[in-house]
């Protein structure tokens, strides 16, 4: 279905470098799988989402110009439905994590600072609104009715954190040297090298940064 977008569709990725629609879609698909399998929230690809949605709209307009019984209509409609699914599924995974670990995610976001944010603008507003909603509800229903020393809300949120030690399936997109796997009480730290295209199961934590910079793909 390569030619749903022509090869000559170019976008700018912000640094002035033009990239093709195919490349945008591929980036989104990788981001979607990573987000689906990653226990923690990954940096947002909101720019790519936006770009893809513009492209979908344009495509829909073009498809509607074709004759009704042109068989290409069906093919293009199908491809557009698949792209829409990828986008909504990607954004749903993110929203679920934001709702689950709201306080933690907002705290991490504040530590990183605005120039290095992981949340899109819309997500950030949603996260703040959602935490306020939870706090307000807990206060109204419970906290304002209990003795004063037990009225704190924030400490109850401390346990809502992603488990960075949960295991993930992954593929190395390039050679990755010197991944340090922490030992436990029975074993020492260990260093492993991952070969290009090799697949592994291991804890998320030691490879977190490689997922974020794109050298490792979760599968």
């Amino acid at each position: 279905m390569e030619d749903t977008f022509g090869d000559d569709d170019f976008f700018s990725d912000g640094d002035g470098e033009p990239i093709t629609a195919q490349k945008v879609l591929q980036t989104l698909e990788e981001a979607w799988l990573n987000e689906k399998f990653c226990p923690d929230l990954l940096p947002s690809q909101a720019d790519y989402v936006e770009c893809m949605m513009e492209q979908i709209q344009q495509m829909e307009e073009n498809v509607n110009k074709l004759k009704k019984n042109d068989f290409r209509v069906e093919v293009h409609h199908m491809e557009l439905a698949r792209i829409r699914y990828t986008i909504t599924s990607y954004l749903r995974s993110r929203l679920e994590k934001i709702e689950k670990n709201t306080a933690y995610i907002l705290e991490q976001e504040a530590l990183r600072g605005p120039e290095n944010s992981y949340l899109s603008e819309g997500e950030l507003i949603f996260a703040r609104d959602f935490l306020a909603l939870q706090e307000n509800h807990c206060k109204q229903l419970v906290l304002q009715h209990v003795p004063p020393p037990f009225q704190d809300f924030m400490p109850t949120q401390q346990s809502l954190v992603p488990n960075l030690r949960s295991h993930v399936f992954l593929r190395a997109k390039k050679d990755v040297d010197g991944v340090v796997i922490e030992g436990d009480r029975d074993s020492r730290d260990e260093e492993v090298d991952l070969e290009e295209n090799s697949q592994h199961i291991m804890q998320y934590k030691p490879i977190a940064n490689f997922v974020k910079d794109g050298t490792i793909q979760l599968i």
Binding site: A81, L91, L133, V142
Partner: protein
């Protein structure tokens, strides 16, 4: 025994699984009362140092303090897990809930649902230039059209291509997947397997 009433709330929720039992106002109020009692006893024990020359009062205080924390945890877990179900209902039923389900909410839960609706709608609107409904497209598409049977007398429905169909109970239709998905999710239509 301490905290039996708050444990009852948790067991009630555990038993009902995904469903929404009526909010147990009375049970919750009883836990508040137990907490107030425990707290008053602790304040009295801590201030009455004359009655405690050997310092053993601290053990009682510690135990009652643990019971207070436990009660708080159970109450908040009760509130939180109910809200989690309310949240899932927004994603499964859509922004309007059946009356008999809403009847089991208490007032703050109705408010929470309405406010959550607003948050979600605002977020959906912020995606892209024209917004995107994330409650749609929940399954990967396999075909563009599916055969469906109507489960209720739903009435007229305008299809994407402008055609209008009448959804009557037991009537069958061939419809675009995108359009019938929300209606299947809400239980208006069912997909006919081939």
């Amino acid at each position: 025994m301490f905290c039996e009433k708050s444990l009852k709330l948790i067991k009630e929720l555990d038993r009902s699984q995904e469903a929404m039992p009526p909010f147990d106002d009375d049970g919750v109020r009883q836990v508040f009362e137990e907490m107030r009692g425990l707290y008053d006893q602790n304040v009295a024990a801590a201030n009455d140092t004359t009655a405690d020359p050997d310092g053993t009062a601290i053990s009682g205080i510690a135990i009652r303090h643990a019971a207070l924390e436990r009660n708080k945890r159970c109450l908040l877990a009760y509130a939180y897990n109910r809200i989690l179900r309310v949240r899932n209902m927004r994603w499964q039923f859509g922004p309007i809930l059946p009356h008999d389900i809403k009847a089991n909410f208490n007032e703050p839960e109705v408010q929470w649902f309405n406010n959550y609706n607003i948050c979600v709608a605002r977020y959906f609107k912020s995606i892209g230039a024209h917004g995107l409904d994330l409650t749609a497209d929940v399954k990967p598409p396999k075909s563009l059209y599916v055969e469906v049977r109507s489960l209720t007398d739903y009435g007229k429905l305008e299809l994407d291509n402008g055609e209008v169909v009448l959804l009557k109970k037991h009537s069958t239709h061939l419809m675009s997947r995108a359009q019938c998905e929300p209606l299947i999710t809400q239980g208006v239509l069912e997909q006919i397997s081939n």
